[in-house]
């Protein structure tokens, strides 16, 4: 999420003096022949809201279960506050987990569910009611304390699960697809609620999700995973604007990928030959790319402008024909066929009402973008 300008930027991962709360050191996890986690090294810092993002089966849940103590690494070490977690069973760890199914105890009331962990902690008995009340207030569940889990709604159950896992004030809270069971509208509201609670309690959150929008909304940093490997770990903004690979660019949001050969044209400018008889695409890259290397030019649809007349003063202009229009209310996506039958998507905010739109199917159009709008990827 974007940080407001008047607040100091929260970026402990850029500060070499900061000690990470969690350290994965060359962690590998195998189930028989299957490699679920492949040599992961990763630092997570205090007060971070860290998202593990990837398709199902990419190993994100296994990584989280290793933090909770439900799986042990086959190789490598996991440190929490500098302490090796391998010999510590789940009930002795300073982490708590919010389960995907919520795993609320059906035979206990909301109140007793929240008090469950406290009764098994070092907290003196007489202090437990106050802590439970505090958690009920934090999650706005005061009215439901006497109810059983099956007597409340899905959204309320989600909040009970959150309150229960936060009650013991863990050093680290693990959230396994915490909003997966909620409908879209409730999910968006709850995302902001989660961020709010994370800020209020100052707890470090690690969240597992396959929903990239959710990860982008809540997280301070996102780790994109695939086949047990960390592909890119960065802030949501950098993941979106400067993905390090075609996989990440494609996984996060919508993107146009154009394959071509790069030729150096100055300090950090490259020309990409992508189709015969077409002007080369001018793009910039801070990386050194050898002459004639195969590259992938990635550009987000909202950075591509579409017009009926040839625009002046743009670094790149490509001619094409509108093949499809997807109207989404707030925005429209134009699928434009360019040389060689390749499709390029351009996204436009619908500032005018639909009847006043001047571009329609089969219209010849000009696509344009600046030389810094896209990124060059090598793989």
């Amino acid at each position: 999420m974007a940080q407001p300008a008047n607040r100091p930027v929260f970026a402990p991962w850029l500060d070499p003096d900061q000690k990470p709360l969690i350290q994965f050191r060359n962690v590998t996890k195998r189930f028989g022949e299957f490699v679920a986690i492949d040599d992961v090294t990763l630092d997570i810092f205090r007060r971070e809201f860290f998202a593990l993002l990837g398709p199902s089966g990419c190993g994100k849940t296994t990584l989280m279960r290793m933090l909770g103590g439900f799986e042990t690494p086959t190789e490598g070490k996991i440190l929490l506050d500098g302490v090796d977690q391998a010999p510590i069973p789940p009930n002795k760890r300073e982490t708590n987990m919010m389960f995907q199914s919520y795993a609320l105890f059906p035979h206990l009331t909301v109140w007793d569910n929240i008090a469950f962990g406290l009764k098994r902690s070092a907290m003196p008995k007489e202090k437990i009611p106050a802590r439970v009340e505090e958690m009920l207030r934090l999650t706005r569940l005061e009215k439901f304390a006497k109810r059983k889990p099956h007597q409340i709604s899905g959204g309320q159950r989600q909040r009970v699960a959150l309150a229960r896992s936060l009650a013991k004030a863990p050093k680290l809270l693990l959230l396994d697809e915490p909003l997966g069971a909620l409908d879209k509208k409730l999910r968006q509201e709850t995302q902001f609620e989660l961020m709010d609670i994370q800020e209020k309690t100052g707890t470090t959150f690690v969240i597992v999700t396959h929903d990239q929008e959710e990860a982008m909304t809540v997280a301070s940093r996102v780790a994109v995973m695939d086949h047990g490997k960390m592909i890119q770990v960065d802030t949501p903004g950098r993941i979106y604007e400067t993905p390090n690979s075609v996989y990440v660019a494609d996984f996060i949001g919508d993107v146009n990928i154009v394959e071509g050969r790069a030729t150096r044209k100055g300090d950090d400018k490259y020309a990409i030959a992508w189709a015969e008889g077409q002007p080369e695409i001018i793009a910039s890259s801070t990386e050194r790319i050898d002459q004639g290397t195969k590259v992938f030019f990635a550009i987000r649809p909202e950075k591509v402008a579409i017009a009926r007349e040839r625009p002046e003063g743009r670094a790149n202009v490509i001619e094409g024909k509108v093949s499809d229009i997807a109207y989404l209310g707030n925005i429209s996506t134009y699928k434009v066929e360019v040389a060689g039958g390749r499709m390029i998507k351009a996204q436009v905010a619908n500032e005018r009402r639909i009847a006043r739109r001047d571009i329609t199917w089969d219209d010849p159009v000009f696509l344009s973008f600046t030389d810094t709008a896209g990124v060059l990827l090598l793989h």
């Binding site: 103590g69 009930n91 795993a103 105890f105 098994r120 902690s121």
Partner: protein, 273 residues
């Protein structure tokens, strides 16, 4: 659905129920016979029930049976639940299939063989036959039934509930005691009831395992009948039928009511959303 009265339906119903219940009805009727002759009706009387209460041999047998049933079903429930828990939860380990097969084998094993095997065991380890040996033998053959009932509940049990308990600071035993057990309690109780009834009416295995001073009620009834059916036996059997009927009806009412209550609670939950 055709709900009209039809002669065919009425006849099938009568025949079926007659086949099932006629013997018992006759037994109950003759338990109230005034005559000493079992098959000759001589008017209504409850004298055999009175005499039953003064028959020390029957009372002793009833006491032994009750003791054996309570002890063995409790032991079988503990052992059977443990076995079910390990077989469902422990995941894959060498010989798991063999173990689960071995737990369930006694269900299909002929009772005569189980009884004989128990007898040989008791003799070879020099255990004097009596109430203890019947309890042991009954525990052995009823625990697999408990195990079947409990494990069928455990396979549908959400494992993350136990993980959540561990995560919140429970030791594995505490997690079982305070989370798993309360949730599977209905299955454990019905396993206990099943073991209790099985023990109550077992004749074959008890005959092998019993000693001279420990005759159970089914054994007593069986041996008395060999000397001729007495009206007292009829009275005793009627009481047993009564006990079993009350037990079964209560159990089914209880479970029906708990289902109805759960449904009402779910509807209440829907209203609040």
């Amino acid at each position: 659905m055709n709900r009209r009265f039809s002669w065919f339906n009425a006849t099938s119903l009568t025949l079926g129920f007659a086949f099932l219940y006629l013997p018992m009805v006759i037994l109950v009727i003759f338990s109230f016979n005034a005559s000493k002759l079992v098959t000759v009706w001589a008017g209504f009387s409850t004298r055999w029930y009175g005499e039953l209460l003064t028959n020390q041999a029957f009372l002793d047998a009833a006491w032994v049976t009750l003791k054996v049933a309570v002890l063995s079903s409790t032991l079988a429930t503990i052992l059977g639940t443990m076995a079910a828990y390990v077989l469902v939860r422990a995941g894959r380990f060498t010989g798991r299939t063999l173990f689960s097969g071995m737990v369930y084998a006694p269900i299909v094993m002929p009772e005569v063989i189980t009884g004989l095997a128990m007898l040989l065991l008791f003799i070879s380890i020099g255990l004097d036959r009596g109430v203890t040996t019947i309890v042991l033998a009954h525990t052995t053959f009823t625990m697999c039934f408990v195990s079947v009932v409990v494990s069928s509940r455990l396979v549908t049990f959400d494992k993350s509930l136990e993980e959540a308990a561990l995560d919140l600071g429970c030791t594995p035993f505490d997690a079982f005691r305070s989370v798993t057990l309360p949730i599977i309690a209905p299955a454990v109780i019905s396993g206990w009831l099943l073991a209790f009834t099985l023990s109550l009416d077992d004749l074959v295995i008890a005959s092998f395992a019993a000693g001279p001073s420990s005759t159970t009620l089914p054994m007593k009834i069986f041996s008395s009948v060999r000397l001729g059916v007495s009206p007292e036996i009829n009275a005793l059997s009627t009481i047993m039928i009564g006990i079993v009927t009350v037990g079964v009806v209560t159990a089914s009412l209880l479970s029906k009511r708990s289902i109805a209550r759960q449904r009402a609670e779910e509807q209440a939950a829907v209203r609040t959303t």
